[in-house]
């Protein structure tokens, strides 16, 4: 076991996958000698050569389009998009092409690529280096959407994503890159996609969250415990396809649900969680199914700490649903 940051765990996951399988390739903008702007790909070119970890021209459309072709031809491309905010030139390739290739060819062709990209706020990056676009992609059948929140999951989910037969969008919470550390096995291992993780056991209120909101919700749960409220925290970690049964079970357990994300609220991921609960276990609910989210505004810069849900906002919601 090694004690790694989430960023180091991503790096370790890439190296492990590349050592295990010589068809795994890493490419994108500045991922080569520079090692990526966050250093997630540091040392890859040195260890595996420029054939397997290389810089591309500045075109997200080109990066994802060529990754689809390589995946179609039997390679395992792990493409990096420097910031999730920059992914939209590739939206067509992801949504119209990668996600639909298996379906439109009747299963004759597939594109099992992985697109890694840092998402979310917390680094004073303003409008274009802070967004959480997961909902756009969770609305895309054929695509898988994965978000780790711990170093252990980052490595295990990344290797599972690379081995997966379908295209995976792997969203990395950049706010956690260097702020969380944890034990990570040195060998290769996988964490199954479409499973949730129970972060904290509780009986009074259930909080669903993912990515950078997991530590925020854990902190809120600790404050709630001081006030005598026992909070269960669930890390969803694969947003699509979702492990619905584990969500329903955790919702039924307490009958009081708060879902937290930093993306805007309207048509955000929490709306889906609320809808699933309303459709399937509403009879267990003791309080309004509640959301704590970013605001329905673009992401600000100076006031990003007011935009991002923090433990105060999550705790406030926990207290409200508990008192209802």
């Amino acid at each position: 076991m090694a004690n790694l940051t989430l960023l180091q765990a991503v790096n370790d996951g890439l190296k492990t996958a590349m050592r295990d399988d010589e068809t795994v390739l890493v490419f994108g903008e500045d991922v080569g000698p520079k090692g990526g702007v966050f250093l997630a790909t540091e040392g890859l070119t040195a260890e595996f050569g420029e054939e397997r970890c290389f810089d591309t021209p500045l075109s997200e459309d080109g990066i994802v389009g060529t990754a689809i072709g390589m995946a179609m031809y039997g390679l395992k491309p792990v493409a990096e998009i420097q910031f999730q905010d920059f992914i939209f030139p590739a939206f067509d390739q992801i949504v119209s092409e990668a996600a639909k290739l298996r379906y439109r060819s009747g299963g004759q062709y597939t594109a099992p690529l992985v697109i890694r990209t840092p998402y979310g706020g917390g680094i004073r990056g303003g409008l274009y280096h802070s967004q959480s676009g997961e909902a756009y992609f969770c609305h895309t059948p054929g695509l898988k959407v994965v978000i780790p929140s711990t170093p252990h999951d980052a490595k295990g989910l990344l290797i599972a994503s690379i081995q997966d037969p379908d295209p995976v969008l792997f969203l990395e919470p950049k706010a956690l890159y260097r702020t969380v550390k944890g034990e990570v096995p040195e060998e290769s291992y996988t964490v199954d996609l479409s499973t949730t993780r129970k972060v904290r056991e509780g009986d009074d209120v259930t909080v669903f969250c993912y990515g950078a909101m997991v530590p925020v919700c854990t902190e809120a749960a600790e404050h709630a415990a001081e006030a005598g409220i026992s909070v269960e925290v669930i890390d969803l970690r694969t947003l699509y396809p979702l492990d619905e049964e584990s969500v329903l079970e955790a919702a039924r357990k307490t009958g009081r649900v708060v879902t937290v994300h930093e993306a805007p609220r309207f048509c955000g991921y929490a709306a889906e969680i609320s809808a699933i609960i309303a459709e399937r276990v509403i009879e267990y609910m003791e309080a309004p199914v509640t959301r704590v989210t970013g605001f329905d505004t673009p992401f600000p810069n100076t006031l990003e700490h007011n935009y991002l849900p923090d433990h105060r906002r999550v705790l406030d919601a926990i207290e409200r649903v508990h008192a209802f």
């Binding site: 903008e29 500045d30 080569g32 000698p33 520079k34 090692g35 702007v37 966050f38 810089d55 021209p57 500045l58 075109s59 459309d61 080109g62 420097q82 910031f83 905010d85 920059f86 939209f88 030139p89 917390g122 680094i123 004073r124 990056g125 303003g126 409008l127 274009y128 280096h129 706010a175 609220r265 309207f266 605001f295 329905d296 505004t297 673009p298 600000p300 810069n301 100076t302 006031l303 990003e304 700490h305 007011n306 935009y307 991002l308 923090d310 105060r312 906002r313 406030d316």
Partner: protein, 372 residues
């Protein structure tokens, strides 16, 4: 090297023969001063970033002649769609330093109300200068749209659209040049070939022979110019602008220059730029070269650099101090300007945010380090 011959007016030592730059002595000295003002802004921004007072900046060192030479060809009615590294353009046209510093600090007087990162300036006066959008190349077709609108309104204004070598790989570059070629738009495309797109050297960005040649396929004439030669930059831009104003269509200018610093204050170029290359370009610094030219016309003498730079530093410092002393934006600025009128659901979210602040105090200030 490029299939196009690189235009130079000054030689490496600043000699320009009897070249007429079309500027008065005072205007030539103003161009020089603007380059030093950019340098003073850079040096101050770097200190502010290193001391944690601003989050981020973009160094302009090495590109000043490209910026100022191009800006000098524009009128106040023209529009600028800048690249990241164009601080000399608003400064040349008289944007107040404090307005730029308000953006650096993201304070309540910042044009974007503290919503954007540092160096994402927008100005409407005294010239239109639209903030960069961090996604690369998106502004290129937008600039063509503005140029087309200028033409449709029967005006003779132009849009100057600036981008780096990396920007030529974007979808926006290809759409923008294609449309401008078809429409004969009054657009001037300025590709600043500064050697690197973050860490990517130009030879990995394109297999074509330079960037000017890329215009040919779109019916847009290309020209290569020494971007460290202020007079040559001015000359090609004046010509491109004249073509555009006359209704003869767009031009693609490739300015060959070099980014002497990192991509940004978060970048460490020593990881990927060979030291010898930096040393080679250090000798081509556009500032001493222009000084030599000015001296040949009796417009510069020993000691001017230090004196003018000190003046510029003092002005920049004053602007930075004022911006730093200005309070941050109010919570309400998160919720305004999303639409012309605030919709009910956003108003409700704003009210809830104020309510939470009253009950539980303000959120803890943001930290975090910007990597790019």
């Amino acid at each position: 090297m490029s299939a196009y011959e690189m235009l130079q007016v000054m030689d490496a030592d600043g000699a320009a023969g009897d070249h007429d730059p079309g500027l008065s002595d005072a205007e030539l000295q103003y161009c020089y001063r603007t380059m030093l003002l950019v340098r003073a802004f850079d040096d101050t921004a770097m200190k502010l970033q290193r001391s944690g007072r601003v989050g981020f900046s973009i160094p302009n060192r090495g590109i000043e002649a490209t910026q100022v030479g191009a800006a000098s060809a524009l009128r106040k009615t023209d529009w600028i769609f800048p690249s990241y590294r164009d601080f000399g353009m608003p400064l040349y046209h008289g944007v107040a330093l404090v307005e730029m510093m308000n953006n650096m600090f993201g304070n309540s007087l910042d044009g974007s109300k503290g919503r954007q990162m540092a160096v994402h300036f927008s100005f409407k006066e005294p010239i239109h200068f639209l903030s960069i959008s961090s996604p690369i190349g998106t502004h290129i077709p937008q600039g063509v749209g503005v140029a087309h609108a200028m033409k449709m309104k029967g005006e003779d204004s132009v849009a100057l659209i600036s981008f780096g070598d990396g920007g030529t790989s974007s979808i926006g570059f290809h759409s923008g040049l294609n449309f401008a070629g078809v429409w004969k738009s009054p657009a001037v495309f300025l590709c600043q070939n500064n050697g690197y797109a973050i860490s990517m050297p130009t030879e990995k960005q394109t297999a074509s022979d330079g960037f000017a040649v890329k215009g040919e396929a779109y019916g847009v004439p290309g020209v290569v110019v020494d971007g460290n030669d202020l007079l040559a930059m001015r000359q090609v831009t004046v010509e491109a602008v004249a073509r555009a104003r006359a209704g003869d269509g767009p031009t693609l200018i490739e300015a060959v220059t070099f980014r002497m610093g990192g991509h940004s204050t978060s970048d460490d170029p020593t990881r990927y730029v060979p030291k010898e290359l930096v040393e080679e370009w250090e000798k081509k610094d556009p500032v001493p070269r222009f000084e030599a030219f000015l001296a040949s016309r009796g417009l510069w003498k020993e000691g001017d650099h230090e004196a003018i730079y000190a003046e510029c530093m003092s002005e920049v410092k004053e602007a930075a101090d004022a911006a730093q002393a200005t309070p941050g934006p109010g919570l309400e600025t998160i919720f305004s300007d999303v639409y012309a009128e605030v919709p009910d659901h956003i108003r409700a979210q704003g009210e809830a945010a104020f309510d939470l602040m009253r009950r539980k105090g303000d959120a803890a200030g943001g930290g975090g380090e910007f990597p790019l």
